[in-house]
């Protein structure tokens, strides 16, 4: 099965012709989100159906480097390449409102995150997968030994920046966050464990500090922030922790996916990734939007 990452329309496996037709028809109608996706992922130059079909085929091609490299390359291009996500650009210098926005929207992201990880556990009998997810839940959500979980570091950051955690819990996430969460819910409810893994853990690449070999042009955030006297301690702790752990998290998950992918439909894994990356793109905008709301207060 192939899926349109924009609108979730479904096509037969490998039927790139019908998928291309879908895009071309919607582009002819000037459907904004489809046109935007084509402009950013395929080309801003109009193509005929034959050219577009082979462009889509090429887009899905994993002959070079397999699924792990395909996901990393796609992710880097969309979020940390030559034209990075605007949120990444915002993170190249410290901004208190942006970090406040981050604290609020990311709280809701993490609430969904832990649900996705536990659904993966429930959908497989593979030991290494279950253990990986348990470790992930511990470090993101529960803590390990004396180490605080990521969600606690996030809330402490929010508090140092002047928010009450009760206020964070009670805030309604922005529409872009809600859209993303509903899509992740849908993926976790309807997909098998390996697709959910591809959808969720690929997102941890955002903070991975070892992506330069894959063409990353920007760090997740300016590492100078970790030494800057202008940056509050809780922000340093929060960012520093993610920086270290998301590196091993994301690569380890991709290694697991690469290990088992041949027992599953490859295109399904790719589509789960694309659907999730599309949602993540919107979600990162919510962090900025919330930051802007604080800035204008």
């Amino acid at each position: 099965m192939a899926v349109c990452p924009v609108c979730n329309a479904k096509f037969d496996s490998g039927d790139y012709y019908t998928m291309a037709t879908h895009f071309i028809n919607l582009a002819e109608d000037s459907d904004a989100y489809h046109v935007q996706w084509i402009n950013r992922n395929i080309s801003r130059k109009k193509m005929d159906i034959t050219q577009f079909t082979s462009a889509i085929e090429n887009f899905y091609n994993i002959a070079h480097g397999g699924i792990k490299e395909w996901i990393i390359n796609k992710f880097v291009e969309q979020f940390r390449g030559e034209n990075p996500h605007p949120f990444i650009l915002k993170m190249q210098s410290y901004s208190k409102p942006v970090m406040m926005g981050y604290a609020i929207e990311h709280y809701f992201f993490l609430k969904q995150w832990v649900k996705s990880c536990s659904i993966i556990i429930s959908k497989t009998d593979l030991d290494d997968v279950q253990r990986y997810e348990i470790e992930n839940i511990l470090s993101e959500y529960y803590g390990r030994g004396r180490k605080k979980p990521h969600i606690e570091l996030l809330l402490e950051m929010g508090e140092e920046l002047g928010m009450d955690r009760v206020q964070i819990f009670a805030t309604e996430p922005l529409d872009s966050t809600k859209f993303a969460i509903s899509r992740w819910k849908e993926i976790t409810n309807s997909c098998n464990w390996i697709c959910i893994m591809a959808a969720m853990h690929s997102l941890e690449l955002v903070a991975n500090s070892k992506l330069n070999n894959y063409g990353a042009k920007y760090d997740y955030f300016n590492p100078g922030m970790l030494d800057s006297p202008l940056v509050p301690d809780s922000v340093k702790k929060f960012l520093g922790e993610g920086y270290k752990s998301d590196y091993s998290h994301s690569f380890r998950a991709l290694d697991i996916i690469a290990k088992y992918c041949h027992d599953y439909n490859m295109e399904g894994i790719q589509d789960a990734y694309l659907m999730s990356a599309y949602a993540f793109d919107r979600y990162l905008e919510a962090r900025m939007e919330r930051g802007e709301m604080f800035e204008n207060q």
Binding site: Q36, R44, K46, R282, E285
Partner: protein, 100 residues
């Protein structure tokens, strides 16, 4: 009749993409856009420039950049020029607009 020109001559007045076929009249010019979001962005930008400068008409806009890094622009009206930078959310709402 006065109208508005941009440096994007191949396609969409904002992003130069040749997909889509969406027209909107802005500053008396029937302009081509790839989608309604690009049209919204362009229209909001025109209004922001007019508000900032007090001009009642814009003759031309030169845009350099993209959705990721935002756009550096030069607008002209008669003998006047105005340089600015702006960036939007992907649904078209203005994120940042500043005079250069």
């Amino acid at each position: 009749m006065k109208c508005l020109k941009t440096n994007n001559e191949n396609g969409c007045a904002l992003c130069d993409a040749t997909w889509g076929e969406y027209y909107r009249e802005i500053e008396n010019e029937k302009m081509f856009f790839c989608c309604n979001i690009c049209a919204d962005i362009f229209e909001n930008m025109v209004n922001a420039v007019k508000k900032e400068t007090g001009w009642d008409h814009i003759d031309s806009v030169e845009l350099h950049g993209n959705y990721s890094k935002g756009r550096n622009c030069t607008a002209t009206s008669g003998n006047n020029t105005f340089r600015y930078y702006f960036r939007t959310y992907s649904d078209g709402r203005m994120m940042e607009f500043k005079k250069l």
